[in-house]
Amino acid sequence: MGMTITEKILAAHADRQEVRPGELLNCKVDVVLGNDITAPVAIEEFEKLNMDQVFDPNRVVIVPDHFAPNKDIKSAEQTKRIRDFSRKHGIVNYFEIGRMGIEHCLLPQEGLVLPGDLVIGADSHTCTYGALGAFSTGVGSTDMAAAMATGEAWFKVPETIKFVFYGELPPWVGGKDLILRVIGDIGVDGARYMAMEFTGPVIDTLSIDNRFTMANMAIEAGGKNGIIAPDRITLDYVQGRNKRPYKVYASDPDAVYSQIREYDVTNMEPIVALPHLPENTKKVSEVAGTSIDQVVIGSCTNGRIEDLAIAAGIIKGKKVHPEIRLIVFPGTQEIYLEALRKGYIEAMIEAGAAVSTPTCGPCLGGHMGILAKGERALATTNRNFKGRMGDPASEVYLSSPAVAAASAITGKITPPWEVA
């Protein structure tokens, strides 16, 4: 009996020939990740073990991104904690302000996560790296601590749902719309405990940035991981970034899936998720005209160069609506610089946007664009839970960069073709 790509990666990291869904495994991890919120808790747990060193200082990655640059004294203390720990333990991949980025944009860019890897991160969107054909999943701080100590973590082998996308992708429809459609279809717990494997002719031609967006939001359907088998597009991205060898896995033709779901994308429209769950999806034309106060473009979901290119393409030469605050936050310093050189940043600033250094900032209601009671944002982020971006009585709508950019111009939710 064949295995899925997820099963193969788990088996390889548990020194097993074969694994089946439901089995509990102890696996070696290739990379362990934490950030300024989760790593301090992990460090506290790790220190209870009285160990002189982490299992491998090259394979622990720590990124201060959530409240970075430090928003207040308490967050400064949290960052100091992880900085001191990183220095003490010789953590090579600690990224300081000015050289950092949002973790899930940064790790692939730096070639720290690679196809075939098994990665755990104390951040739920660690599932993003599945876009490279890695098994990658979010865990808590205690799991991070244990893995820093042992280089291992326990897993239950998940069942896999296969999602097949076929047809002709219409203009203005991309990875964000595909994944929102899936979440709208199966719900926020539709893939709970399961692997989500994205395949089909549409995925085969999808850019790496769009793939990151899709894998990123697997967790919003409750998924354990999202995964796309590596192909030429993946390897082109990885080439030159990797500093160690990697292995490419693919699902066997006779692999067993708990479900196979097919989507014809031909007549799709961009999708918008309404408050307060990512599953509350509608076509953009169905919610067009909804008034908004703030537009946020960025995050680990849509803060990559292609996202900024799309947004800048729509905004260039126009003005942000007088009653809208448009906040743009590029995913990493490298993305920021590339966007600057290509004129995207200039176009957006000329239009009246605020452009921020890379940070999670507004995405989690941390800082840099908090919503007041009764305010409404349209964001390219991944979560629109109650209070996610500020006051519990504020609202977040989710969309692609194209819809967000068009809406920033008109001041209300707008299909991109009406502006571009």
Binding site: D72, T142, L364
Partner: protein, 163 residues
């Protein structure tokens, strides 16, 4: 392990931002987190919750972020146990890892209300609603996870491995 406690009931898809909003995550001090526990789901909860109380919730409890601050806040608020129709994966894992008792029990949720008094045997997964007299059987933990719980959490469990 036996628990007796008063119920606070919540609905479906209670996410980690409702359990502990990100605006309080610039600290990981359990007592400070406890002061805001479940605040965005029920602003009164932090002031009325008492030692030993039990949270009962519908499906997908704890969905969203990986923040361990969520089960830490619940534990530090004095909650003895969380029972839900189902749990989000990372929340489930984190609860086991920090030693917050949780039980998945799809059958009992509709018949338990806020204010009911429950008597729970965690090892056997037996839940008795003293307010209605009904009893229910929840999924007990797999042995491996029970092993972690018995040690008081993952770090104690790992301690033996790294010695």
């Amino acid at each position: 392990m036996n628990f007796v406690g008063k119920v606070y009931k919540f609905g479906s898809d209670i996410d980690t931002d409702a359990i502990i909003p990100a605006r309080y995550l610039n600290t990981s001090d359990p007592q400070e987190l406890a002061r805001h526990c479940m605040e965005d789901a029920d602003p009164n909860f932090p002031s009325v919750v008492q030692q030993g109380d039990i949270i009962v919730a519908d499906k997908n409890f704890g969905c969203g972020s990986s923040r361990e601050h969520a089960p830490i806040a619940i534990k530090a608020a004095g909650v003895s146990l969380v029972i839900a129709r189902s749990f989000a994966r990372i929340f489930y894992r984190n609860s086991v890892n920090i030693g917050l008792p949780i039980l998945e029990c799809p059958d009992c949720i509709d018949e338990i209300q806020t204010g009911d008094r429950l008597e729970v045997n965690l090892i056997k997964g037996e839940i008795k609603n003293n307010s209605t007299g009904k009893t229910y059987q929840a999924q007990p933990f797999p042995d491996f996870m029970q092993g972690i719980m018995d040690k008081g959490g993952l770090i104690e469990y790992v301690r033996e491995k790294v010695k």
